[in-house]
C-alpha cells in the first residue's frame, strides 16, 4: 500500500514545475559553487577539486539551501490540508504508517533528485573555462559521488525528516518556510562551542567536522587525500541521522488522521449568535466617500499597518527574532580580536557583528515575507474582493512594502536590544545609540529596502510564488557575482557600494554623503520598480503576463503618472549628478582598464628601471592640510645629488598615480626642457640644460596638490580624512620607474604575455643590493617640514618641533630632524589628546632626554599607560643591548581604523585605532599586545631606521624578524616567560595558517620574500629558540655589531660600500657568537626549511 502512495507522490511531483526549478537552481548555483563558497579565501596549495574542498562546498551549499529541502519536504502532507482534500484521503482505508512512509519516501526521492543538482553542477563546474588547470587535480567523478553520499545525503535525511514532520504536524506553510532557519541557527550555535571535538560532532553541515578530521594533515595530503568516513565524521553523520529518525518516530506518534485539530475546534464552537431577528430596523448611515490624495494617504497608512501586524502577529516571525537575538549573544563573544586579545565591546564592534550575523535572518524575512505579502490576498482567496474595490494597486503594494520594512525595524530594535544586553553583561556601559541607529538605519535598512523592491517587483511580475522566491535568490547571487567580476560602478551595481567602515576618530567620514546620494538614486529606481510592479500586478483573474503588460497602460492613473514622471526625472537627475561626480570630476577605472594601464606601464617604462638617477639628499617642504575639504598642497624642494660615476642629463619623475593628485609646478635649477612622451603614465622626463656631474647637487622645486572633487565610485581615498589624515612620502613625486605599478597576478601576466615577475631579487642582484626598497630614490635625507592644518587638529611629521604657532585661524608646526634619516616620513593630522612623558638615558656619561608622546583619540585612553610603559622599557632594553637611540623624540599617533597596522617612521609611529588602543587586555589571561606592538615598532627605530636591508631576498628577516625578536625580549623582561610562550603559541598558529595558504615552496628565513607567516611568525619562534641555545647576551652582541657595521649613516662597513646588508651578512654575525657545536643551528633555523621546534 505504501508503495502506491509513494508512486502517487512521485507522479504528482514529476508533473510539477517546482521540482525542476529546484534542481535547476541548485545545478546552476553549484557550477559556481566552489568559487562562491571559497571566494576571497586564499586556497594556497589546495586544489579547487580537492576532496576536502568538494566536501566543504557540498556541505555549505546543502546548508545554505536547506530551505529548499523544507519547501519540498514540508509541503508533502501539508498539501492535503491546503487543497482541502484531507477529508477525502483520511477517510480511505489506508493506514497511518503507509500514508506517512509513502509520502516521506516519495518526497525524499524528489528531494534527492533536486539536490543531485549540486552533484552534477559541481562536476560541470570543474570544466568551466575560468579555472586554471594548475589549480585542479585530475578529474575524478567518483570523488564527487562519494562526497555527495558522505556529506550531503545524511544532512538531507536529517533535514527531510525534520521538515516532513514539522510540516505534517503544524500544517502551517510559513512554519515550513522558516524552519530552514532553525537548522541554520543550530549551525551558528555550534560555532560557539569551544571544544573542537564536540563542535565537529554537532555541526549539522560538517564544515567544522571536515576541518577537524584534516587538522593534522599536511597541505599536500589535504589537497589530495580523500576524507575517510570514520571517526568524528562518521559520528557526526550518525548523530544527525539519529536525530532525523527520532524526529520521524515522534512525528509518527503525534500525527493523526483527524481533519480538525481538536483544541482549536472547541474554541470555534463558541460562535453562536443570540439575536437573530433584529436585523430589519437597522439603518445604514450615509457616509462620504473620498478618492483624493487624503484618502490615498489614509489607505496607505491602513495597508501599512494591516500588513505589518499580519506578520508581526506570526509566531514564525518571533521565532526568527528570538533566534537572531540568541545568536548575537553567543556569537559576539570575540570582538575585534587582534593577536588573540579581544577589544572592548565598543558599539561599532557590536554593530558590525550584528550586521554580519543577522544578515541571513533579514534575507530570509525579505525573501519569504515579500512572497507572502504579495500573495496574501490570493492565498486567502480574498483577492477578488480586494480587486473590485477602488483601491490603487500602487498604494496597496506600497503599503505592503512599508509594512515589511517596519518588520525589519522590529528585528533591528530586537537586535539592538540584545547588543545592549551583551554590552551590559560585559560591564561596558557606553552605549552609543547613534552608532547603533546609524549602523542599522543607514546601512542595513536601505540595503534591505532596496532588495525588497526587487523582491516585490519579481513577485508581482512572475505570478508564481516559488519561482519568485527562487528568482529573488538568483538576483542576490547574480549581483554578488557581478561585483566579483568587477562590474561594480555605483550607477549599475544594484544598490551601490556599502558604506565605508565606521571609525571612532572619523565617524563615517567622507563616505557618508556620496553613500546617501547613491542610495537615493537606487531608492528612486526601487520606486520605479514598485510602480511597474503595481501596474503589471495581477488584478482580477487575468494572469497571462503579456496581457497584464498590455492592460497596464489603462491602470496608470493621473496622480500615479505624475508621481512616476517625477520619480523618473529625479532618478535621471541624481543619476547624472552621480555620473558627473564619478566619471567626469573623477576618472572611473574599470578593472580591465587598470590592468591595461599596468601592462603598458611596464612594457614601455621598464627600460628605465636601473638608469642612473640622482638621489634625494634633502627634503624641505611646506604642507598645507585642509581637513574639512580633504585637500592639501605640498610645496618646497628636494635636493638631488648625483651619486653615480657618470653625468646625468635627464631626471625621470613619477607623479603618484591618483586622480586627485596634481603636480602643479616642477622646476630644476639651471634650466630644463620637458619630454612628456610618457605623460599618460604621469611620468615626465626632464632634460637638464646642464648635465649633473658626479657629486653635484641640484634643487628640485615642486608643488603638489591633492584636491577632492565631488566623489568617486566605490571606496575612495582613505588617507586624507576629515579627522585622521595619514599619508607618507610615497604619495609625493618619486624618481624613476616605480615597480609597484606593475601587474602582480601571475595568471594575468601570462595572459598579457609579460615575463614572470620576480617579486624579490636574489641576494646577488647588483642593482637591488644598492636599493634599500623598491625603486629607492634616496640613501638618506636631511628633513625639514612646516605643516599647517585646521585649528582643532595637531599635525605631525618626524623631527624636533622647532616652532608651533597659529596663523589665519590655522595651526602650524615646524619640524626639523637634526640627523640624517631615511627617506621615509609620514604626515599625520587629527584632533588629539596628548600623553607626554620623558625617558632619560646616559650615553657616554652625558644625560640625554628623549620626549615621549602619545597622540590619541580622546575616548581611547584604555591602554595609553601600557604603551608608555612599553616605550620606556623598549628604549631602555634596545639602547642597552643594541646601541643608542638616535632621535630626541619618540611619538605614537593614532590613525583611523581603515587600515590595521602600526608603522615606524623616524621617531614617529602611526598606530591604527583598530589595534592596541581599544584592546580589552586582561593581564591574567591575555598577552599585553598594546605593549608588544609598541615594542615591535620601537625596535624598527633600530632595524629599519638605523640599519637598512638590501632590497633582496631576506630583507624582511632583517627588518621584521629582528624587530620581533627585540620586542619579545622586552616582553620577557617585563612580563613572565609564560606570557612569551603564550605569544609564541599564537605565532605558531599564524605560521600554520600561512603555510596552508602558501601555493609555492616555503622559503627559508634567509631567503624570505613577502611571506609574513615566515618573517613574523616563524622568525620570532626561531629567534627565540636561537637565543635560548646560545644565550640572549650573545645574540644581542651579534646584533650590536651588525648595527654598528651596517648603520646606514655611519656604519663602518656601510661607509665603504654602496650596497646594503643582506641576511648573509647578518648570519655571519650570528656565526661569530655561536660556539662550533651549535653552528648547525644557524643553518637549521635560518637557511633551511625545517619544522618548528617549539
Amino acid at each position: 500500500m505504501w508503495y502506491n502512495i509513494f508512486k502517487f507522490e512521485i507522479q504528482y511531483r514529476i508533473k510539477r514545475a517546482d521540482t525542476y526549478v529546484f534542481f535547476l537552481f541548485l545545478f546552476l548555483f553549484s557550477i559556481v559553487g566552489v568559487d562562491f563558497i571559497f571566494q576571497g579565501s586564499d586556497m594556497g596549495l589546495m586544489k579547487k577539486n580537492s576532496p576536502i574542498v568538494i566536501a566543504k562546498t557540498m556541505g555549505a551549499i546543502t546548508g545554505l539551501f536547506m530551505i529548499l529541502a523544507s519547501m519540498i519536504m514540508g509541503v508533502s502532507v501539508l498539501r492535503d490540508f491546503e487543497y482541502h482534500i484531507e477529508s477525502l484521503i483520511f477517510t480511505t482505508p489506508i493506514n497511518k504508517k503507509d500514508y506517512l512512509l509513502g509520502r516521506f519516501l516519495g518526497s525524499f526521492t524528489v528531494l534527492l533528485f533536486a539536490f543531485t543538482g549540486i552533484l552534477f553542477g559541481m562536476i560541470l563546474g570543474e570544466f568551466m573555462p575560468w579555472h586554471n588547470p594548475e589549480h585542479l587535480l585530475a578529474f575524478n567523478a567518483l570523488i564527487y559521488v562519494k562526497m555527495f553520499i558522505m556529506i550531503t545525503l545524511p544532512t538531507l535525511f536529517f533535514g527531510a525528516s525534520l521538515f516532513f514532520v514539522t510540516g505534517a504536524l503544524t500544517r502551517n506553510l510559513v512554519v515550513v518556510y522558516t524552519q530552514g532557519i532553525i537548522v541554520f541557527v543550530i549551525f551558528m550555535l555550534t560555532k560557539a562551542i569551544t571544544n573542537d571535538f564536540w563542535q565537529a560532532i554537532l555541526d549539522p553541515f560538517s564544515l567544522t567536522t571536515t576541518t577537524f578530521v584534516t587538522k593534522s594533515w599536511s597541505t599536500l595530503t589535504k589537497s589530495t587525500q580523500e576524507i575517510p568516513f570514520i571517526g568524528v565524521l562518521l559520528y557526526n553523520k550518525l548523530f544527525w541521522v539519529a536525530i532525523g529518525i527520532i524526529a520521524m518516530i515522534y512525528g509518527y506518534k503525534k500525527f493523526n488522521f483527524n481533519v480538525v485539530k481538536e483544541k482549536k475546534a472547541k474554541k470555534n464552537q463558541k460562535l453562536v449568535i443570540k439575536r437573530t431577528n433584529e436585523v430589519n430596523d437597522v439603518v445604514i448611515p450615509q457616509v462620504k466617500k473620498q478618492y483624493g490624495l487624503l484618502s490615498k494617504w489614509n489607505q496607505l497608512k491602513q495597508f501599512t499597518w494591516f500588513y505589518f501586524t499580519s506578520i508581526f502577529k506570526q509566531s514564525s516571525f518571533w521565532g526568527i527574532v528570538i533566534c537572531g537575538m540568541i545568536i548575537i549573544l553567543i556569537n559576539s563573544v570575540n570582538l575585534g580580536t587582534v593577536y588573540g586579545v579581544d577589544s572592548y565591546p565598543a558599539t561599532y564592534f557590536i554593530v558590525e557583528e550584528l550586521k554580519e550575523t543577522s544578515m541571513y535572518f533579514f534575507i530570509v524575512l525579505l525573501v519569504f515575507y515579500s512572497g507572502e505579502l504579495v500573495w496574501k490576498e490570493r492565498g486567502a482567496k480574498l483577492d477578488l474582493i480586494y480587486d473590485a474595490t477602488p483601491m490603487s494597486n500602487f498604494i496597496k503594494l506600497l503599503g505592503k512594502y512599508i509594512g515589511l520594512n517596519l518588520i525589519y525595524v522590529v528585528l533591528i530594535f530586537a537586535l539592538i536590544g540584545s547588543g545592549i544586553i551583551f554590552q551590559t553583561l560585559n560591564g561596558y556601559y557606553k552605549y552609543e545609540f547613534q552608532v547603533y541607529l546609524s549602523g542599522f538605519f543607514l546601512e542595513i535598512l536601505p540595503f534591505l529596502a532596496l532588495y525588497t523592491c526587487i523582491a516585490f517587483f519579481i513577485q508581482s511580475i512572475v505570478n508564481h510564488k516559488f519561482l519568485g522566491i527562487m528568482l529573488v535568490i538568483v538576483f542576490f547571487i547574480a549581483n554578488i557575482v557581478l561585483g566579483l567580476f568587477g562590474f561594480d560602478h555605483d550607477l549599475y551595481f544594484f544598490g551601490g557600494s556599502a558604506l565605508g567602515a565606521y571609525s571612532d576618530m572619523n565617524g563615517y567620514g567622507h563616505f557618508f554623503k556620496p553613500y546617501l546620494i547613491i542610495k537615493a538614486y537606487w531608492f528612486l529606481f526601487g520606486m520605479l520598480l514598485l510602480i511597474i510592479g503595481s501596474l503589471v500586478n495581477v488584478r482580477g483573474v487575468e494572469t497571462n503576463v503579456w496581457k497584464r503588460i498590455k492592460a497596464s497602460k489603462n491602470r496608470l492613473s493621473k496622480p500615479l503618472f505624475i508621481l512616476t514622471t517625477m520619480v523618473c526625472l529625479l532618478f535621471i537627475t541624481i543619476g547624472s549628478f552621480i555620473f558627473y561626480n564619478t566619471n567626469v570630476l573623477n576618472a572611473y577605472w574599470t578593472n580591465s582598464k587598470a590592468t591595461d594601464f599596468r601592462v603598458t606601464y611596464e612594457k614601455e617604462l621598464k627600460q628605465f628601471e636601473y638608469i642612473p638617477q640622482p638621489k634625494i639628499v634633502a627634503v624641505n617642504l611646506q604642507v598645507e592640510l585642509y581637513p574639512t575639504t580633504r585637500d592639501y598642497t605640498v610645496e618646497g624642494y628636494y635636493i638631488l645629488k648625483n651619486n653615480a660615476t657618470e653625468d646625468i642629463k635627464s631626471i625621470h619623475i613619477q607623479k603618484f598615480i591618483e586622480e586627485n593628485i596634481t603636480l602643479d609646478t616642477i622646476s630644476f635649477e639651471g634650466g630644463f626642457t620637458i619630454d612628456n612622451k610618457y605623460g599618460k603614465f604621469d611620468y615626465s622626463i626632464f632634460i637638464l640644460n646642464a648635465a649633473l656631474k658626479p657629486g653635484d647637487v641640484i634643487k628640485m622645486h615642486f608643488k603638489q596638490s591633492f584636491t577632492t572633487k565631488g566623489f568617486e565610485s566605490g571606496n575612495s581615498n582613505v588617507n586624507i580624512n576629515n579627522n585622521g589624515t595619514f599619508f607618507n612620502n610615497t604619495d609625493l613625486p618619486t624618481i624613476g620607474y616605480t615597480k609597484k605599478y606593475e601587474l602582480n597576478d601571475a595568471d594575468t601576466r601570462k595572459e598579457y604575455s609579460l615575463p614572470i615577475r620576480i617579486h624579490t631579487a636574489n641576494r646577488n642582484d647588483l642593482n637591488e643590493l644598492k636599493n634599500a626598497r623598491n625603486g629607492s630614490d634616496s640613501d638618506g635625507i636631511n628633513f625639514e617640514m612646516i605643516i599647517g592644518t585646521s585649528k582643532d587638529q595637531t599635525a605631525l611629521a618626524p623631527g624636533n618641533l622647532l616652532r608651533k604657532w597659529t596663523e589665519n585661524n590655522r595651526n602650524y608646526f615646524h619640524y626639523k630632524m637634526k640627523k640624517t634619516m631615511i627617506n621615509f616620513y609620514a604626515i599625520v593630522s587629527a584632533e588629539y589628546e596628548i600623553k607626554k612623558d620623558e625617558w632619560i638615558t646616559s650615553q657616554d656619561s652625558i644625560a640625554k632626554t628623549v620626549d615621549l608622546e602619545i597622540y590619541f583619540h580622546k575616548a581611547h585612553n584604555y591602554n595609553i599607560d601600557r604603551m608608555m610603559t612599553s616605550m620606556k622599557a623598549s628604549l631602555t632594553y634596545f639602547s642597552n643591548n643594541f646601541g643608542p637611540y638616535q632621535y630626541e623624540q619618540l611619538r605614537i599617533m593614532e590613525f583611523p581604523r581603515y587600515a590595521e597596522f602600526a608603522q615606524s617612521f623616524p621617531g614617529t609611529i602611526p598606530f591604527s585605532e583598530a589595534i592596541g588602543f581599544v584592546l580589552d587586555i586582561d593581564d591574567k589571561k591575555d598577552v599585553d599586545m598594546a605593549f608588544y606592538v609598541t615594542a615591535h615598532e620601537i625596535a624598527h627605530q633600530w632595524f629599519g631606521m638605523q640599519v637598512e636591508a638590501a632590497n633582496v631576498k631576506g630583507r624582511l628577516t632583517i627588518l621584521e624578524t629582528l624587530s620581533q625578536y627585540a620586542a619579545i625580549m622586552v616582553l620577557k623582561q617585563h612580563y613572565s616567560e609564560e606570557k612569551v610562550f603564550q605569544f609564541l603559541e599564537t605565532q605558531k598558529e599564524n605560521y600554520k595558517k600561512g603555510k596552508d595558504r602558501e601555493d609555492a615552496k616555503e622559503p627559508s628565513l634567509a631567503l624570505v620574500e613577502d611571506q609574513d607567516y615566515i618573517y613574523y611568525a616563524k622568525g620570532v619562534i626561531n629567534m627565540y629558540e636561537f637565543q635560548k641555545v646560545i644565550g640572549e647576551e650573545n645574540v644581542n652582541k651579534a646584533l650590536r655589531y651588525f648595527l654598528k657595521d651596517w648603520n646606514t649613516t655611519n656604519g663602518k662597513l656601510k661607509m665603504n660600500t654602496d650596497r646594503y646588508a643582506t641576511t648573509q651578512d647578518l648570519l655571519d654575525y650570528f656565526r661569530e657568537v655561536t660556539p662550533e657545536s651549535n653552528q648547525y643551528l644557524i643553518t637549521d633555523l635560518f637557511e633551511k626549511v625545517k619544522p618548528l621546534k617549539l
Binding site: K267, N268, Q269, K270, L271, I273, K274, R275, T276, E278, V279, N280, V282, V283, I284, P285, Q286, V287, K288, K289, Q290, Y291, L294, S295, N298, Q299, Q302, F306, S310, K313, A380, K381, L382, L384, I385, Y386, D387, A388, T389, P390, M391, R539, G540, V541, E542, N544, K547, A551, N554, S557
Partner: protein, 295 residues
C-alpha cells in the same frame, strides 16, 4: 441608472467561448442571472466587476464606460464573488473596517458607525470581535455582503451567494438583499431557480455563453402557460419518452421519474397539464439551447 451590456464576447485561450455576443439591459432592482454550472455566469459577472477583460463589446453603467473607466465603476461597485476566503486570524470588525478604508470611507467616526450598522444588519454584531476562522458558511456569506455594501453601491454583483447555505441562512441573506431598495442595480447569479422566483423583478437565462431568454419572470411564465405537462413513469420507459416528447426535466418523485414535457397541444397518454414553474422555463430554455447546439 441602467446597466447596459452590448455584444459582449470572451473566448478563453483554451478555446472555450465563455461569452458570445451577450446583450442585456439591466434596470435598478434585483436582476436574476440563471444558468447551469459553466454557463458563463461568473465570467460575465467578473467582467462587469472589472476583474476580467472582454474581447469585444461594451458595458456601461449610467455614464461610466465599465471596460475603460474601471476605477470609476469600482467606486460604485459592490461585489461578492462566488468563492472567497477570509483572513483567519482577524476579526470581522477589523477586516470590515479595512475594506471600508479601501473603499474611500476616510472619516474615522463615520466609518465606525457604518461598520457597526452593517454588522448589525448582517447580524454579525455579537461576534464582531471573534476571529473569522470560526465563522460558519452563512456567517461568512453575510460578512461578504456586508463588505459589498460598505460603499453604498449603485451596482451590486452577487455571484451564487447561497450555494451551500441552509434554508434559514439563505433567507437571512435574501432579507438583507431585498432591503436594498430600488436605487441599486443588483445582479444575482444563481443556478437555483427559486432564488430568482422569490426575489427578482427581471431575469435572464444564459447557457453556453449565450443569453437564451430575458425578461420579467411573470411574463416569461405567461409564455409557458398551458404548454407544460407532467407524468410519472417507470425508469425503463424514460428513453422512449425522451424520443417522443420534448422532455424538459426529469425528477424523481417517491423513487419514480416524473417528467415534464413541453407541448403546444395536449399530448394525452396520461400527461396532465400543470402550472408552469420558473424551473420549467429554465429547463426548457436549456433544453432548447443544447438541442439546437447538437443538431
Amino acid at each position: 441608472m441602467k446597466l447596459i451590456i452590448d455584444n459582449l464576447s470572451k473566448t478563453y485561450s483554451n478555446g472555450v467561448k465563455a461569452l458570445q455576443n451577450i446583450s442585456l439591459e439591466i434596470p435598478t432592482g434585483m436582476f436574476g442571472l440563471l444558468g447551469p454550472n459553466g454557463a458563463g455566469k461568473s465570467t460575465l459577472m467578473r467582467t462587469i466587476a472589472t476583474l476580467q477583460e472582454a474581447d469585444s463589446g461594451y458595458i456601461s453603467l449610467g455614464n461610466i464606460d465599465v471596460l475603460k473607466q474601471k476605477n470609476e465603476l469600482r467606486q460604485v461597485l459592490g461585489y461578492l464573488p462566488q468563492q472567497f476566503g477570509l483572513y483567519p486570524k482577524i476579526s470581522a470588525e477589523v477586516l470590515l473596517n479595512h475594506f471600508a478604508v479601501l473603499k474611500g470611507i476616510t472619516h474615522k467616526g463615520e466609518r465606525k458607525n457604518l461598520v457597526d450598522s452593517l454588522l448589525h444588519k448582517t447580524n454579525l454584531y455579537d461576534v464582531k470581535k471573534q476571529n473569522l476562522k470560526g465563522y460558519s458558511g452563512g456567517m461568512k456569506q453575510r460578512f461578504g455582503i456586508a463588505q459589498a455594501l460598505l460603499n453604498n453601491p449603485k451596482l451590486l454583483i452577487v455571484d451564487e451567494p447561497t450555494a451551500g447555505l441552509d434554508p434559514l441562512e439563505r433567507n437571512r441573506f435574501y432579507n438583507v438583499l431585498s432591503e436594498l431598495g430600488e436605487q441599486t442595480v443588483i445582479i444575482l447569479s444563481t443556478h437555483i431557480v427559486d432564488d430568482v422566483k422569490e426575489l427578482c423583478t427581471n431575469m435572464a437565462i444564459i447557457n453556453q455563453g449565450q443569453v437564451c431568454l430575458k425578461g420579467n419572470p411573470l411574463q416569461i411564465l405567461e409564455n409557458l402557460k398551458g404548454r407544460v405537462y407532467k407524468k410519472t413513469i417507470e425508469k425503463l420507459e424514460l428513453k422512449a419518452y425522451k424520443q417522443d416528447y420534448k422532455v424538459i426535466s426529469e425528477k424523481l418523485f417517491l423513487g419514480k421519474p416524473t417528467i415534464h414535457i413541453l407541448s403546444d397541444a395536449n399530448p394525452g397518454d396520461g400527461f396532465s397539464l400543470i402550472n408552469a414553474e420558473l424551473e420549467d422555463v429554465y429547463f426548457s430554455e436549456i433544453f432548447n439551447n443544447t438541442n439546437a447546439k447538437s443538431i
